[in-house]
């Protein structure tokens, strides 16, 4: 516990000073403020904000994670040459990154709402966007850890991270849409749901769709999920799905880290 506390204090101080994290928070704040200010009020701004969050959060999270881990390689090695177990080191790295990234994200999204006084009108929708964004951050931190510890070369690792984001956030929906179009003659609800559960970005998208009742704007998979679950149980299942997406790559990353050679 002492190890985790010591490393966390240092890491959070280090990361909150990092320009990338500050820039991320500032970008989210400017984007949110801009949408609220020019987008014609919170009702109109929310779907745009949701789209932005679902695209930007995974990208920034996974790139900051892999970059930070590659950058810290020597430091991790130094720490591990002392009487410190690998699990506590992993835990503090992970918690430190998720905490600072979620912190920057929350400040970025919530401050503009607070300043413009729209927070109360936005209500439940905003709450779910924030929860989905925080979970997405954890998911892509896990994936970033897995990539950074599996791939030794930083250039290749960052490339893999970028490709992962591109696949999940952009290409995947295209493929699903194409499949839906090709097999339109068959009952597709169940396969669509399975396909969607396989992609955390889609799951997060569904959570915000649920929150905003704007399924038509969010792609085909979102529409299917809305129809299938409709109510609160859908949100619970989607959140559970996301949690699984945090845990599975996270555990795989931990196993890789414990066996890794430095």
């Amino acid at each position: 516990m002492n190890t985790v506390r010591t490393l966390l204090v240092r890491q959070i101080r280090d990361l909150s000073r990092a320009r990338a994290v500050a820039g991320y928070g500032a970008f989210m704040a400017m984007a949110t403020w801009g949408l609220l200010h020019f987008g014609g009020g919170p009702e109109r701004a929310m779907p745009s904000l949701a789209t932005l969050v679902v695209l930007v959060v995974p990208l920034v999270t996974i790139l900051i994670t892999t970059t930070y881990l590659y950058h810290s390689g020597d430091f991790i090695e130094l720490i591990l040459s002392h009487p410190v177990g690998r699990r506590p080191v992993f835990l503090s790295l992970y918690v430190g990154l998720v905490t600072t990234l979620v912190g920057a994200l929350l400040l970025g999204i919530l401050l503009p709402f607070a300043f413009t006084g729209f927070a109360s009108t936005a209500g439940k929708g905003l709450g779910l966007i924030v929860v989905a964004a925080a979970l997405l951050t954890a998911v892509f931190t896990s994936l970033g850890f897995l990539v950074a510890f599996k791939v030794d070369d930083p250039a290749r690792g960052n490339g893999v991270a970028l490709l992962l984001w591109l696949t999940m956030a952009v290409l995947y929906d295209g493929v699903v849409l194409y499949a839906a179009y090709r097999f339109a003659a068959y009952p597709l609800e169940t396969p669509m749901l399975v396909l969607m559960g396989l992609n955390p970005v889609d799951v997060a998208r569904v959570v915000v769709v649920m929150a905003l009742d704007a399924s038509a704007m969010m792609g085909y998979t979102g529409a299917v999920f809305q129809e299938f679950f409709g109510g609160a149980s859908g949100v619970v299942i989607a959140l559970a799905c996301l949690t699984l997406w945090v845990a599975l790559p996270g555990v795989a990353a931990l196993r890789t880290f414990v066996r890794k050679d430095f």
Binding site: N2, D14, S72, L78, L80, S81, P83, K260, D261
Partner: protein, 258 residues
Amino acid sequence: MTKAFGSVVVLDNVSLDFEAGRVTALLGPNGAGKTTLLKGVLGLVRPDGGSVLIDQTAIDAVGRYRESVGFMPQLPRFPSHMTGHELAAMLDSLRGFQGRADDELIDAFDLRDDLDKPFRTLSGGTRQKVNAALAFRYATPIMILDEPTAGLDPVASLALKDKVRRCRDEGRTQVITSHKLGELQALADDIVFLHEGRVQFTGSLEALLEETNRSTLEEAIAELMGGGGRWGSLTPAEGRTRHGDSDDRTAPGLRVIP
């Protein structure tokens, strides 16, 4: 210990004893597996097979045994924003260290002022001094030094070698890798020579000199390597000597004279 990276066998059934209270020089050409072996002992590299015993006891998986090991890595990159003092305080806290730190080297290197500056402002040599000071800070019974004098000026290098001798007098066990064979000859009690992941020689310095019938460690190692020429750049390789020929005599810049 056995370790392969992919299909490359770096350590091939290496079996060694480092005797307590003695300074062992771990030698071998680049890529012989020296650093991998040291990292295996530290648990930084996970061996494919084999085990490490300290005082007949197998080391624990969590790494509590590193309480008694001080490690000086090869030219590490410290976090650029941190100062030496901050890093030392953090390591103290990680180790749960309460006692009085050994700051002999800090005084010997005159490091006090530099420890208040962030690492990014320190020169490579000064960083290496901090590296040494941190390694010796916890007065551990076992010291592992990977190329400790690399990048140090002669004065600092001498101070470090004095420290190693004092540690030996205190009965601490030390393992040193270095390419500076001359300085190792003055320092080492025992020699381990690794070549392509195998132990080529292990024994006392005297035994090595006697066995190879040479007077210096440098010559003895060259002998082990098979008649010289392959040990680093101590003797230029055959084909390279042409550079010094008469036609180039007026050419400016670098000259290599055999």
